[in-house]
């Protein structure tokens, strides 16, 4: 893959994605971890989202979650560190009793959750007040509106609700002259992949290296006849980048399900075995980065390919129809090149791995 752009020179995209701030806040008191705030009405689903996405709670178990009474702060340690703050629904987020600056100063994104199955007018009023307040003092904060629990709605109603909510927020913003405020909207549910897709897009805006990653993936796809390639955060199943060909929820879903397969099987058979006679052998030949391949019976060719890139990230590729099984060596080689390039983009992840290995 000779034509890979040099990873150290960030690729400058002619049309930067809208609202992509690439800002990793690191002010004085800061810990340098972008913060994701989950806000919205009571029972809108904030804690459920956080538990399903970051703790792998089965969606049906969220029925037993209790209402949140104080801000729950969690640190996520991954390819980049970030924090998720789950707020109680009934709080007035601008109550002077709060240290407003402390809350908003370093955030990467404010995620506002609206229950689409419930009356949402009050939720929108509070959202509008919040955005207007933020526009005043922190105009760069991404506001991500999750129109949530859409699983229970008919297609028509879902679309109408979504449009209605967008309209109501945008009207209010333009009334105050903020039509360009960085506000985005998503339809989400914890019962399918949509919540992960939405989170992926929210997080991608906070990754300064995104354009470089996309360029690397584009080039990989082209060289190896890959239809679609995703770089996944293994733990959360959020994808942090994909090539720039059109994305659809379907290809994200199959890759995400595939990660589950590999993670589950790896958990089942990757347990700590007591020293056995086969072990010496294993250390000689076993490859340390997990890899996986699925060949389809109908198509007779490679279909899905997965390769662990480092401790946190995995590359998953949906192969094109013209990608015969014997091309695996070519793919392996080019993925190796990609992996090396990525080391330069995310030197941190590598250091981490070395550090943990040294401890072991």
């Amino acid at each position: 893959m000779e034509d890979l752009p040099d990873a150290e020179v960030p690729h400058t995209d002619p049309v930067p994605p809208r609202f992509h701030t690439g800002r990793l806040p690191n002010s004085k008191a800061g810990d340098g971890k972008p913060r994701l705030l989950l806000m919205g009405q009571r029972r809108s689903g904030k804690s459920s989202i956080s538990s399903v996405v970051f703790h792998k709670l089965p969606p049906s178990e969220t029925l037993y979650l209790e209402t949140t009474t104080r801000i729950k702060k969690e640190s996520m340690h991954s390819f980049m560190d970030f924090q998720v703050w789950d707020f109680p629904g009934h709080l007035d987020y601008f109550d002077p009793a709060f240290d407003v600056d402390n809350i908003f100063e370093e955030i990467g994104a404010l995620i506002w959750v609206i229950d689409a199955q419930d009356e949402y007018l009050e939720a929108i009023m509070r959202l509008n007040t919040t955005i207007l307040n933020l526009q005043h003092s922190y105009p760069n904060i991404n506001v991500e509106v999750f129109v949530h629990k859409v699983d229970g709605l008919s297609e028509d109603y879902k679309g109408d609700t979504f449009r209605d909510i967008i309209q109501r927020v945008q009207d209010e913003l333009s009334d105050h002259g903020y039509e360009n405020a960085p506000v985005s909207f998503y339809q989400t549910s914890i019962y399918d992949h949509s919540i992960f897709e939405a989170f992926s897009k929210v997080i991608q805006k906070l990754i300064p290296q995104l354009p470089t990653l996309e360029a690397l993936l584009n080039s990989l796809c082209q060289t190896c006849h890959i239809e679609k390639a995703y770089l996944f955060d293994i733990m959360s199943k959020i994808y942090i980048a994909t090539d720039t060909s059109p994305t659809d929820l379907g290809s994200y879903e199959i890759c995400s399900d595939y990660i589950d397969v590999v993670i589950d099987v790896s958990e089942i058979y990757g347990w700590d075995r007591p020293t056995e006679d086969g072990d010496a052998e294993a250390q000689e030949t076993g490859n340390n980065d997990a890899e996986s391949l699925i060949t389809m019976e109908r198509k007779g060719n490679n279909y899905l390919y997965l390769r662990e890139i480092n401790k946190y990230l995995a590359l998953i590729c949906l192969m094109g129809d013209d990608s015969p099984a014997d091309k695996k060596a070519v793919i392996d080689y080019n993925v190796g090149v990609f992996q090396t390039a990525l080391k330069q983009v995310f030197p941190r992840a590598e250091r981490d791995v070395e550090a943990t290995e040294a401890v072991e």
Binding site: P58, S60, E61, Y64, Y191, G250, S251, E253, I254, D257, Y258, D260, V261, V262, D264, V265, S266, E267, I268, Y269, G270, W271, R273, P274, E276, D277, G278, D279, E281, A282, E284, T285, G286, N287, N288, A290, E291, S292, L293, I294, T295, M296, E297, R298, K299, G300, Y303, E308
Partner: protein, 359 residues
């Protein structure tokens, strides 16, 4: 013996109160529904019959019996012998959320009585279903209490009835159905024997045989340290993983779930290597082996070579010569065990076959 092509028809009754979840289970296990889809199912009218070809010569003749009172009344009276004769297995489903548990048990009582009259040799499995609706910390206790109570009402089957907690939302469904199927497979011991020999030859830590359509486990062989694998629910977990994956592929490719099978799936890590591949018309074989490319490649070759042996077993149930002859690359002296005489305890903790001439 005229066993070669004759199919073993086994009649299985699926009963329980209306809304208990019988048809939901059936559609998930046998018809590639996902848990979300079952909300669309209507109540079953009278009995829905389905014939399910399972592992070659086993044909499940499943009677999904609508559970509304009128139908049940009818089964117990006019259709009594028609419904309850020559039954191999009765699967009775209790809804954990039912507010009339006592009444459900009374109804269960009349059904097992009718069964005892007409098919005294039948086996009863009781599924306490929709366990997902109970908070996880209360599940075990509630299940135990219900099971004990139902057991007391099981009449002639009191000593043999088996209980399983189930939910369509997790792998417990697969765990229960795996046990039921295992009970029904006529030559399970024979398959197990063949599998054990294969495991020795390819130096596998574990081999698991899965039925292809349902992804239910037929049987497995575990060797050496792997017997200490802490994930004791791994067989049904893999069933559930495979099923989900199959649906996900079907959705993405547009190929119906019934035929969106993979030819092979490989996973290689520093700690183990794993692959799952088609073995016979009706089965997939999953193999977990030490993390070595060499062992991995040799295992794949050997499994390919042994396919015809398993294919025969898939169709007929008469004893076969030992599997050893099928391996081109094995230098291990055959123990000469015939299919019918496999020793289930043999072969543990050996793991000393590395000198064998794999290529």
């Amino acid at each position: 013996m005229n066993t070669t092509k004759r199919q073993k028809q086994r009649k299985v009754l699926l009963m329980g109160k209306s809304g208990a979840g019988k048809s939901s289970m059936r559609s998930i296990v046998f018809s590639n529904y996902v848990a979300k889809d079952v909300r669309r199912l209507g109540a079953t009218i009278d009995v829905e019959h389905s014939n399910i070809k399972f592992m070659g010569n086993l044909m499940l003749n499943l009677w999904d019996c609508g559970g509304q009172d009128g139908f049940v009344e009818n089964y117990l009276t006019h259709q009594r012998t028609h419904v309850f004769s020559s039954v191999a297995v009765l699967i009775f489903v209790f809804d954990i959320e039912s507010r009339e548990f006592a009444a459900d048990v009374v109804s269960y009582g009349s059904i097992v009585r009718a069964l005892a009259e007409n098919s005294p040799g039948a086996k009863v499995f009781v599924l306490v279903h929709k366990m997902d609706l109970v908070q996880s910390r209360l599940r075990q206790q509630l299940f135990d209490e219900r099971a004990e109570y139902i057991k007391q009402a099981s009449e002639n089957f009191k000593d043999t009835v088996e209980f399983f907690p189930t939910s369509i939302w997790d792998q417990s469904l697969y765990k229960a159905w795996t046990q039921i199927i295992y009970y029904l497979i006529p030559n399970a011991r024979g398959i197990e024997g063949l599998l054990r020999e294969l495991a020795e030859v390819v130096d596998a830590r574990e081999l698991i045989l899965y039925e292809r359509t349902t992804c239910l486990m037929v049987t497995h062989v575990t060797r050496g340290v792997e017997t200490g694998n802490p994930f004791t629910d791994r067989f049904e977990r893999i069933s559930s993983i495979l099923k989900t994956h199959k649906q996900s592929m079907a959705k993405h490719t547009g190929i119906p779930a019934g035929s969106s099978n993979f030819a092979e799936m490989q996973i290689k890590t520093g700690r183990f290597m794993f692959f799952i591949t088609r073995l016979t018309e009706n089965t997939n074989l999953a193999a977990s082996i030490p993390a070595s490319e060499q062992v991995f490649n040799a295992a794949r070759v050997n499994i390919m070579l042994v396919r015809p042996r398993f294919a025969e077993l898939d169709i007929a149930s008469k004893p076969r010569p030992a599997v050893q002859q099928a391996f081109a690359h094995s230098a291990e002296s055959g123990s000469g065990l015939g299919m019918g005489a496999m020793d289930g305890e043999d072969g543990r903790g050996k793991g000393k076959e590395r000198e064998r001439g794999f290529e």
